[in-house]
């Protein structure tokens, strides 16, 4: 049956990518449908109950700057907030929040259900509707056909998911949920390169059986940060503590003795797991000289006793899991409430995507999230947002939004994925961003909110907040540039400048030792006024980083010049002398649209780029 209503954008999947995609498209005013297997699990955190972290909270800030879901939901569900890298500089400072799973789900669902223009329907999708080389909709399990010119696929680990516990395997998308095998089969028939990845989760523990008095406590930070730039501390639910325990010799002994029973070591798993998130058996083998590993004990929520022991993800059989968990301090009597498992799933080679996240093979079809080989809620959310925006822009007849590496972590993420592909689940790190000093959490709104306003993504509240911040920042800049500090004056003393001649406040702020905190005290700025403090910090960062930013700006100017150099799509690389075969192949496959993109191809040399440019100019002029 054909569903009677026509949509503009259909989003398949209600995870972190799907919810951002659906919400973004709907915010932009196009008719949007979210299809999910289960409405109850919309916004579900399938892995650890935390949002943010270094590189990741940067992504959340960018989503937030475009008025996305994740930051706001985190403030409504966060039960433990910390600032990471507080001793380092602002570019790498990040926020991490433990979230109550149920509260987080509710918050996401509430945001979606209050989003005008967005409809939600619960039904498993079994096929895409394709006409020629473009997608026109999708078919659900009960034979219902939904039509829309753009479809965003965000199926996470559900495509042909297989769960491993020891030597036992069962199909599954997440413990307790069925995989999307029919859709996987159907997609495998389309011209996409498919690979297999794996990830794992630890066994969950019943908190009533843990001796917390034996564990190290890890309280949240005071003052408590907020995740969203329009978030309020008053939104935060009750706060709780995390704990830390350690593995020991006995733990490692048990794991070593049972290695042959681990799905990963027996060869039952073909997918590649992430290097930065190894299973406990992997850690014990690879770092054999370590006598203990740190395990973070994270609460699953305020209304449950379940705990998430971060650091012992495993595919060992249940009896081994139980044995080694009970060797850890405080866990001697522990009861496992859910076994840990490894999950293997299909992903599509992201090199088959364009910068908009539209697939090269099927017009109107977009992929976002784990389906593209990434891991993490934040990475998924960022892609979902981008795919949702571009699906809507396509419907609106606008050009795609393709953020560059110097504009946003989202740009770094997509650029890495579609150019380099990935061989392990891709996770964001700040070291991936060569323009890290510009891509800060504190200026995400300055980088993206105006763009979001232009694209119709940003609501009135955020817009007003942003304009207020920029107004204050501008006023503060003028004040600092104009106001002089006299040697021996009270201000000189308060700022500890020891001036010999008069200097502007702005120049004083350039000094490494003159921090925003010191200035706030000296100028009697109300530290309870968060906006005022943020604006002062912003000015501090901009002033102190100015030299570095200028250097990066020069670099970026060059890249933009290259961007203006378009390469004709019909350029015949095989006829160009002076390119290595390897390079010729890569160029032929990736068909970069501009010189800047060609420059990103691995193994590209300045000489090859020059040759390319000359031929591009020649073809263009004929």
């Amino acid at each position: 049956m054909r569903y009677p209503e026509q949509f503009d954008v259909i989003v398949i999947g209600g995870g972190h990518a799907g919810t951002e995609a659906a919400a973004a498209a709907a915010r932009m005013g196009v008719r949007t449908l979210l299809l999910t297997q289960n409405i109850e699990t919309i916004g579900q955190m399938s892995c650890n109950p935390a949002i943010g972290g270094i590189g990741k909270s940067h992504l959340v800030a960018e989503i937030d700057a475009l008025d996305g879901v994740m930051g706001r939901a985190t403030d409504q569900a966060g039960i433990h907030f910390r600032v990471l890298n507080s001793s380092k500089g602002p570019a790498v400072r990040a926020i991490r929040a433990q979230a109550d799973r149920a509260l987080y789900r509710n918050a996401v669902r509430r945001i979606l259900e209050n989003q005008p223009g967005l409809k939600i329907f619960q039904q498993s999708v079994v096929d895409l509707l394709v006409e020629g080389d473009r997608v026109v909709g999708c078919k659900t399990q009960m034979g219902l056909d939904f039509y829309a010119p753009c479809v965003v696929l965000t199926t996470g680990t559900f495509l042909d998911g297989k769960i491993h516990i020891g030597d036992e395997q069962q199909p599954g998308g997440r413990a307790g949920d069925a995989p999307s095998s029919l859709l996987a089969q159907r997609l495998r028939a389309l011209p996409f390169r498919v690979g297999r990845l794996k990830t794992g989760t630890p066994p969950r523990i019943d908190g009533r059986t843990v001796a917390f008095t034996e564990l190290e406590q890890q309280p949240g930070d005071n003052p408590r940060p907020v995740m969203s730039s329009i978030g309020q501390r008053s939104e935060h639910p009750q706060q709780t503590e995390c704990h830390i325990t350690y593995t020991n010799d006995s733990t490692h002994q048990i794991i070593r003795e049972n290695l042959h029973r681990s799905a990963m070591f027996s060869g039952a798993i073909e997918g590649v797991g992430p290097r930065y998130c190894p299973s406990i058996e992997d850690k014990v083998v690879r770092f054999a000289d370590k006598t203990q590993h740190q395990i973070f004990i994270e609460p699953e929520g305020l209304t449950t006793t379940e705990l998430y022991p971060n650091g012992i993800s495993t595919s060992l059989p249940f009896d081994v899991q139980l044995a080694f968990v009970r060797t850890m301090r405080g866990f001697e009597q522990a009861h496992i409430s859910r076994p840990g498992y490894a999950i293997e799933y299909d992903y599509f080679d992201p090199r088959d995507l364009t910068y908009s996240l539209q697939t090269k093979a099927l017009e109107g079809l977009f992929f976002a999230g784990q389906i593209n080989g990434t891991t993490g809620y934040e990475e998924a959310g960022a892609q979902g947002l981008l795919a949702g925006i571009n699906a809507a822009r396509k419907v609106q007849g606008e050009s795609f939004w393709e953020p560059r590496r110097d504009e946003a972590y989202i740009g770094v993420l997509v650029d890495d994925l579609i150019n380099l592909g990935t061989t392990e689940p891709y996770r964001m790190f700040t070291s991936r961003a060569e323009f890290r000093l510009r891509l800060r959490q504190d200026n995400a709104d300055q980088r993206l909110t105006p763009l979001g306003v232009d694209m119709g993504l940003v609501g009135a509240q955020r817009r007003a907040h942003y304009e207020e911040k920029m107004g204050q920042l501008q006023a503060l800049k003028l004040k600092f540039a104009g106001e002089c500090v006299m040697p021996g004056s009270d201000l000189d003393g308060a700022l500890e400048l020891k001036l010999r001649k008069e200097t502007t406040l702005l120049d004083a702020l350039r000094r490494p030792e003159v921090t925003a905190d010191r200035v706030a005290v000296a100028l009697s700025i109300d530290t309870q006024n968060e906006l005022a403090v943020n604006v002062l910090r912003q000015l501090e960062v901009e002033t102190k980083y100015a030299g570095y930013i200028k250097r990066q700006d020069d670099e970026i100017a060059k890249i933009r010049r290259h961007e203006a150099m378009q390469i004709p799509a019909e350029l015949d690389y095989s006829s160009i002398d002076g390119l290595s075969n390897e390079l010729r192949q890569k160029l032929d496959q990736q068909r970069p649209e501009s010189l800047a993109r060609a420059a990103r191809i691995q193994g590209m040399t300045p000489a090859a780029l020059s040759i390319l440019l000359i031929h591009a100019k020649k073809v263009a002029s004929i």
């Binding site: 790190f429 991936r432 300045p606 780029l609």
Partner: protein, 455 residues
């Protein structure tokens, strides 16, 4: 990120390599005139020949003519200055070094033509020719660069890159994984590591023969007992009467330095007074100077005469040389035994482990082989691009050293960790032009293999 289409100031030797009557160094890009006027210490006039001395600091480099072509009426369409001086790679390289010191950089192969094309100075028919030129010259340059990456230099660069990578692994791990229980270098450790990097860099730039090779050429010391024919050998290599040749022992009392070009390799040949004990005060002085020169030389040619030569005598001479080299400033691998006067007697068979060659300075027999051997000694292939390949390496090392110094300063000033990291990333970026870039993923791979990361 690979770059093209820069508009920055580039320079290169425009005339063919080798010893010629006139050598032209060309400058193109923003600031060409200003930089040239600094070198010439005179105001330039558009499209007029201005006679001047080329001066760098207090050093007089050459005399010649400077020609300024304002943009767009120039070969490249940019502001161009030509410095026409005397030929010879050593002099020209000094001018290039001076220009680079003032902010220019060495042009890539074909870069002048490429800019000319982009500025509409070459038509489309010529475009493909330019592309071919770039392709072929860059290949030659790549080969040359590879050639220079052999032996001692290569080892040192590899050590440098490894040290820098190790430090970056620490700094980046500290930034991206502060919550992990990993043993990261403390501030003092980073300071030490930066100090050690600085030392390695200074050492490579200053002491490796690459640096001197560029400014002075390869230093070759001629030593040997009096009357074994050192001076005639010098003449045979130089191809002209450069030193006094006589049969009276000890004639060459003072050091004789001659710059010459051996198959494109610039060499500074130092003819020493014969190494022998003498009561003559002047001669003693000469001997002392000779020893100092031996200690500093890149290559020592130990000249011996074939008549009455025995294997034992050669071994004894080598042993003496080693004994005198108390500061161990040169390795014995840099000593080449030249058995001269082969026209008079058949020399004995020397063991293979002794670097040696048999020549006759009088007849010229074996001189070509000696020249080839000199090239081999410094890893210098007979290709004109070699010279600039080396210059590029030194440029990259210097740029890298500047970033390491900036990182030290940032650390000293207590700046944020990511700023120190930024300088280090740039330092590595410059080195990347020698050995290829290390990608973010390579670095992360190192972090994951060295530290147990993972929650």
């Amino acid at each position: 990120m690979t770059q093209v289409l820069d508009q920055d100031l580039i320079c290169a030797i425009a005339t063919p390599p080798g010893q010629g009557g006139i050598g032209i160094v060309r400058l193109s890009g923003v600031g060409a005139k200003q930089v040239a006027e600094t070198i010439c210490e005179r105001k330039l006039v558009a499209r007029s020949a201005v006679y001047c001395q080329f001066v760098h600091g207090s050093e007089h480099l050459d005399d010649g003519i400077a020609l300024w072509f304002p943009e767009p009426q120039s070969f490249t369409g940019e502001e161009v200055v030509e410095l026409q001086g005397h030929g010879g790679p050593v002099v020209q390289q000094r001018i290039i070094n001076a220009l680079c010191g003032l902010g220019a950089r060495l042009a890539r192969p074909g870069e002048f033509s490429e800019r000319a094309f982009h500025n509409g100075k070459l038509d489309l028919a010529q475009a493909e020719g330019v592309a071919d030129l770039i392709a072929s010259t860059s290949e030659a340059a790549a080969r040359a660069a590879l050639n220079t990456l052999r032996g001692d230099f290569s080892n040192k660069v590899n050590v440098l890159i490894e040290e820098l990578t190790r430090l970056r692994v620490q700094v980046e791990a500290a930034i991206d994984f502060p919550d992990e229980e990993i043993e990261i270098l403390e501030q003092a450790g980073v300071v030490n590591a930066l100090g050690s990097l600085d030392k390695i860099l200074t050492n490579i730039i200053a002491s490796a023969n690459q640096g001197r090779l560029l400014s002075n050429g390869v230093q070759v010391a001629l030593i040997g007992a009096p009357n074994v024919g050192k001076s005639s050998l010098l003449n045979a290599l130089a191809g002209e009467d450069a030193a006094i040749v006589t049969d009276i022992p000890g004639t060459t009392r003072d050091l004789l330095k001659i710059d010459l070009l051996v198959n494109n390799l610039p060499i500074r040949l130092i003819d020493t007074a014969g190494l022998r004990d003498s009561s003559d005060a002047v001669e003693q002085q000469g001997v002392a100077r000779a020893r100092a020169q031996i200690a500093q030389a890149d290559i020592v040619l130990l000249v011996m005469a074939a008549p009455d030569l025995s294997v034992a005598a050669v071994s004894q001479q080598l042993a003496d040389l080693k004994a005198e080299d108390q500061e161990e400033q040169f390795s014995s691998a840099r000593v080449l035994v030249v058995v001269n006067k082969a026209d008079l007697a058949l020399p004995p068979d020397l063991p293979e482990e002794v670097n040696h060659i048999t020549v006759s300075a009088l007849t010229g027999a074996g001189i070509d082989q000696l020249k080839t051997k000199l090239h081999e000694f410094v890893g210098f292939a007979d290709e004109s691009t070699e010279f600039s390949a080396r210059a590029r390496h030194v440029d990259a090392l210097k740029a890298s050293a500047d970033q390491v110094a900036a990182a030290q300063l940032a650390l000293h000033d207590g700046l944020a960790a990511e700023l120190v990291a930024e300088e280090l990333a740039l330092a590595q970026h410059y080195l990347g032009s020698i050995t290829g870039d290390i990608s973010a993923d390579d670095l992360l791979g190192r972090i994951f293999s060295e530290f147990c990361i993972g929650k």
